[in-house]
């Protein structure tokens, strides 16, 4: 009987302990890609949250295809830290390939950083909350390529040469990005040139309100997002 009590007690304690444990996995949240779809009577809202990485273009394209015949207004809400230039261009191509208006929106306290900006600019009407955040910076090699380079045993001269080459490539990629992906419909050339001068080696954060006040042409219209 007493053995039974001991077993019961230990079992109870273990059960209590196990109840307090729950699976972890919070580490990959920042890199998790989520595409939510909300169908409303007058519009379809697609919500993208996550980096601009494969398979974003496929997922966005599939969602847009799903509503190909639907005449309701299509809005793509973006919350992204940016990511791959190639993937971003594929997303822009997927949006432009649809023969219909697709509006883009960044919500209050939402972020559209780096390669997300060209995707935002692909929208027919580009809307942002005054407190939405946009970030501009110089293009850079992805972290895995940098790690691969670091692992190589190079002497000082080779390292310096490689650094110079990387810098030149990044500058070229940034110029290309500013000219072909950001400097498009309605974006002020003067503003863009000023921004290009500011970004080497630093991130520039701007709110939707600031972008409108500076007449950047990035944001077409400011909207208070809870009202949308």
């Amino acid at each position: 009987m007493s053995l039974l009590k001991v077993v019961g007690g230990v079992g109870g304690a273990l059960l209590l302990w196990a109840t307090f444990q729950s699976p972890s996995g919070s580490g990959d949240v920042a890199s998790r890609q989520t595409l939510s779809i909300s169908e409303q009577p007058d519009r379809i809202v697609l919500g993208w949250s996550g980096p601009v990485q494969d398979p974003m273009s496929e997922r966005i394209a599939a969602a847009l295809d799903r509503y190909k015949a639907d005449r309701r207004r299509l809005i793509l809400i973006l919350n992204s830290p940016g990511g791959s230039i190639d993937q971003g261009r594929k997303v822009v191509a997927a949006i432009r390939a649809r023969d219909r208006a697709i509006d883009t929106l960044v919500q209050k306290a939402g972020v559209c950083a780096s390669m997300c900006v060209p995707i935002f600019l692909a929208g027919t009407e580009r809307m942002a909350d005054p407190e939405a955040y946009f970030m501009f910076h110089q293009a850079s090699l992805n972290s895995s390529t940098r790690e691969n380079i670091k692992r190589r045993q190079l002497n000082e001269a080779e390292t310096a040469r490689l650094s110079q080459t990387i810098k030149a490539l990044e500058t070229q990629a940034t110029d290309d990005l500013f000219r072909n992906d950001i400097g498009i419909r309605g974006v002020s050339r003067v503003w863009l040139a000023r921004m290009r001068e500011k970004i080497p080696d630093r991130d520039i954060w701007m709110s939707g309100q600031q972008l409108v006040e500076e007449r950047s042409g990035i944001v077409d219209r400011l909207v208070r997002t809870p009202a949308l």
Binding site: V29, R32, W205
Partner: protein, 184 residues
């Protein structure tokens, strides 16, 4: 009366009650269990337990309620950065965690300190990802606390609040009894 023997510092009140057992034995057993000691002592215990319960409910209750209301709506807040995250485990039972969340988009803004507690779990080595709710943009948290460990935090809160409430009720009862005996 084994129960009576176990009472620490059995005083004159308990002994006097025991004298009545011949007349009403059942009643005497109940009365002998009455807590002894100066009512002031029980009052202090009551106030301490009450204060701890109040502190717990005020500091953790609203956060837990909010996190339940917003469960499933959290998305990474790329404009925020978590820093100085630390968890302190006490006797392998309770863990207090805290992290500061600062805005990278708005560096002038003062960082928010986020605190939470958990039972029977460490919390070490977990990634601190700041998140914001899609339905309440002002609600900011750490994903590990808001989503991953929400059940643990809820159980920890209920369990701790329950124990403190129990102690408070017992202290109130004991204080009342002690006060009655003190009058006699």
């Amino acid at each position: 009366m084994a129960f009576g023997k176990r009472q620490p510092g059995v005083g004159s009140a308990a002994q006097a009650l025991n004298a009545n057992t011949a007349a009403a034995p059942g009643y005497a057993v109940t009365e002998s269990a009455a807590p002894t000691g100066h009512p002031f002592r029980w009052l202090i215990i009551l106030l301490a337990c009450g204060a701890m319960l109040y502190g717990l409910v005020v500091s953790y209750g609203p956060d837990i309620l909010r996190d339940h209301r917003l469960a499933g709506t959290w998305q990474p807040a790329y404009d925020l950065q978590a820093m100085e995250g630390r968890c302190e485990r006490k006797n392998f039972v309770i863990t207090f965690c805290s992290a500061k969340i600062r805005s990278v988009a708005n560096p002038g803004q003062a960082p928010i300190t986020h605190r939470f507690m958990m039972l029977f779990t460490g919390g070490g080595g977990e990634a601190l990802v700041p998140v914001r709710s899609t339905i309440d943009r002002a609600a900011v948290s750490i994903f590990y606390a808001a989503e991953t460990k929400l059940l643990n935090r809820t159980l920890s809160f209920v369990f701790t609040a329950g124990i403190l409430a129990l102690f408070s009720v017992f202290a109130l009862f004991a204080c009342w009894k002690a006060l009655n005996h003190f009058d006699e």
